[in-house]
């Protein structure tokens, strides 16, 4: 919480030489309420704009309509189904990506050629937005879930592999020496020393991987939403645009943002319970 530091010294002398006394200010509020208030204000401005300006509701929906569409979408099931489809593909691709990244990282850690291959592949494929290989994936696998999965998996492999192998290569040599000193070798040394010591890098790799995957899947679904006859969130938004159901477009966007935030919170929580608690990474 970097902002807290800024708020600490409230009694700084002003230009006129008088000392400002500390009083209840915006900065002295806790983070939660501060953010909630800002969000509320944002929604209020949005609602006021829509109500007062008389903007075409087909272009901008009011927050109230968006909320209705969101609830309806989940109760009636169309938005819920779309969300589940997207999450299922994302989860599957993440799993595949993580396994491949694990294999590549293992090879890169144990052999020089493995490391060279990983460095080469990452430098080529990591800067490439994964969505760019979608046309190729469609050409190879057709308009189906497989193409999507390949694109998403490609998006997540590289950030994970780079971070994890960096984590393994930068393990504190003293800790390794301690491990060997107490008689650890081979798999035991990997499991009990290398893996926990590389955890900060691993978690940040997974975090980046999920974020990349999430952005890529929405983009890929926008390009072609039909996956196995049913569409995901990207398709849901595009479909809503086609039929001018503007509140649904907004509802879809809100869902995407919420899931993104939720994923981020999960990782922050895991970090708080592990590497931050252990002093291996400072809290954010």
């Amino acid at each position: 919480m970097t902002t807290l530091q800024r708020d600490q010294d409230l009694s700084v002398p002003r230009d006129d030489g008088k000392v400002r006394t500390s009083r209840k200010t915006w900065g002295s509020l806790p983070t939660g309420p501060r953010r909630a208030l800002l969000l509320l204000a944002l929604v209020a401005i949005w609602q006021a704009y829509v109500s007062i300006s008389g903007v075409n509701p087909l272009l901008i929906s009011s927050p109230w309509d968006v909320a209705k569409a969101l609830v309806e979408g989940f109760v009636e099931g169309r938005l819920l189904d779309a969300t589940l489809i997207t999450l299922r593909i994302l989860l599957l691709s993440m799993l595949i990506g993580m396994v491949i990244a694990a294999v590549m990282t293992t090879l890169a850690t144990w052999t020089r050629i493995g490391e060279d291959i990983l460095v080469l592949l990452t430098s080529i494929l990591n800067p490439l937005p994964s969505i760019a290989i979608l046309p190729l994936a469609i050409l190879w696998f057709g308009l189906n879930t497989t193409a999507l999965t390949v694109v998403i998996a490609n998006a997540v492999i590289w950030p994970i592999a780079i971070n994890v192998s960096m984590g393994f290569r930068t393990v504190n040599p003293t800790l390794l020496a301690v491990g060997r000193n107490i008689g650890l070798s081979g798999w035991r040394l990997v499991r009990d020393v290398l893996v926990p010591a590389a955890l900060p890098h691993t978690i940040s790799g997974l975090k980046t991987g999920w974020a990349f995957g999430w952005r890529t899947i929405i983009a890929a679904e926008l390009v072609f939403g039909v996956a196995g006859g049913k569409g995901g969130l990207g398709f849901f938004i595009n479909d809503a645009r086609y039929f001018l159901r503007t509140p649904e477009i907004f509802a879809g966007l809100v869902t995407i943002a919420l899931i993104g935030i939720a994923l981020d919170l999960v990782f922050s929580y895991v970090e708080k319970k592990t590497v931050v608690k252990w002093g291996m990474k400072s809290g954010t």
Binding site: T174, R180, I182, R188, P196, T274
Partner: protein
């Protein structure tokens, strides 16, 4: 592996027979960098008897830490023998527990207590026994209040205490200490030297201790093995077991003697540079 480690009984037996626990015989030790061998220790011979505190003292770069690493089994001598009891010290093992200089030698993901328990579990002790031992050494090193804390919450001095407790809890045949107090402030340093002396007296553990501090060598050690500049040899082994009190005359005499041994090496070096 376990059958190869030196047991407490073996150490007791050696003590009865007045035989050395560790013998370093004409050891030549160094590193290979880019295919070129750099000799740090040219020819070192000395012996460590059970229950002794042997200090390795020498100018920086003389290979005293390298020698300790060879005893620990991290590096192999180019020539000569290093024997623990009758066995070569070829691989690292818990019978030669090492306390390093670096504060980050503790596992950051384990609490202080678990840091002490874990290595004991690895040498085959059951959970209860390891826990009991951990508590014993936590008390011995004045660490009880910190038992459930994580290493990053501790001061440097506390971290080194934990490292010593962890090493001792493994019941090593010999405790290897690589400038363990070198990165501490002067006050903490002398506190820990004193505590180490007390603990060593209580447990009777054998210690091989690397230092560049003459004061530390005299205060902690029984005997001081003095090394000269690389490729180093043992200049002299100085017996300081009868001087403990820094206020004593004998203490400062021992320090003066050690200093003269160390600076003698320096003079040859500067002479060589002039030639």
């Amino acid at each position: 592996m376990k059958s190869q480690t030196i047991s407490k009984e073996t150490v007791d037996e050696l003590a009865r027979d007045h035989k050395p626990l560790l013998s370093v015989e004409h050891a030549q030790i160094g590193y290979v960098v880019n295919g070129k061998a750099h000799v740090a220790v040219g020819d070192a011979s000395f012996e460590v008897y059970p229950g002794e505190k042997i200090m390795l003292l020498g100018p920086s770069g003389c290979g005293k830490s390298t020698l300790l690493k060879a005893v620990a089994g991290f590096i192999e001598p180019f020539a000569g023998n290093i024997k623990l009891a009758t066995r070569d010290t070829l691989v690292p093992g818990p019978d030669r527990a090492v306390v390093f200089q670096e504060f980050d030698q503790l596992f950051p993901w384990k609490s202080v207590r678990d840091n002490i328990i874990y290595p004991q579990r690895m040498i085959g002790r059951d959970k209860d026994e390891a826990g009991r031992r951990a508590d014993e050494y936590l008390t011995l090193m004045h660490l009880e209040p910190a038992a459930d804390r994580y290493p990053h919450q501790l001061s440097g001095g506390m971290k080194q205490r934990v490292a010593i407790a962890r090493a001792l809890a493994m019941d090593p045949a010999i405790l290897l200490m690589d400038e363990p107090f070198g990165a501490l402030d002067a006050q903490t340093r002398s506190r820990l030297q004193q505590e180490l002396n007390e603990v060593a007296e209580r447990t009777g553990v054998t210690i091989l201790f690397v230092t560049h501090s003459i004061q530390e060598a005299v205060y902690v050690g029984h005997r001081v093995v003095v090394l000269n500049n690389p490729p180093s040899t043992v200049v002299e082994v100085v017996d300081v077991r009868d001087v403990h009190d820094p206020a004593d005359e004998g203490f400062s005499e021992a320090m003066v003697h050690l200093r003269s041994l160390l600076s003698a090496g320096d003079e040859t070096l500067s002479d060589a540079a002039f030639e």
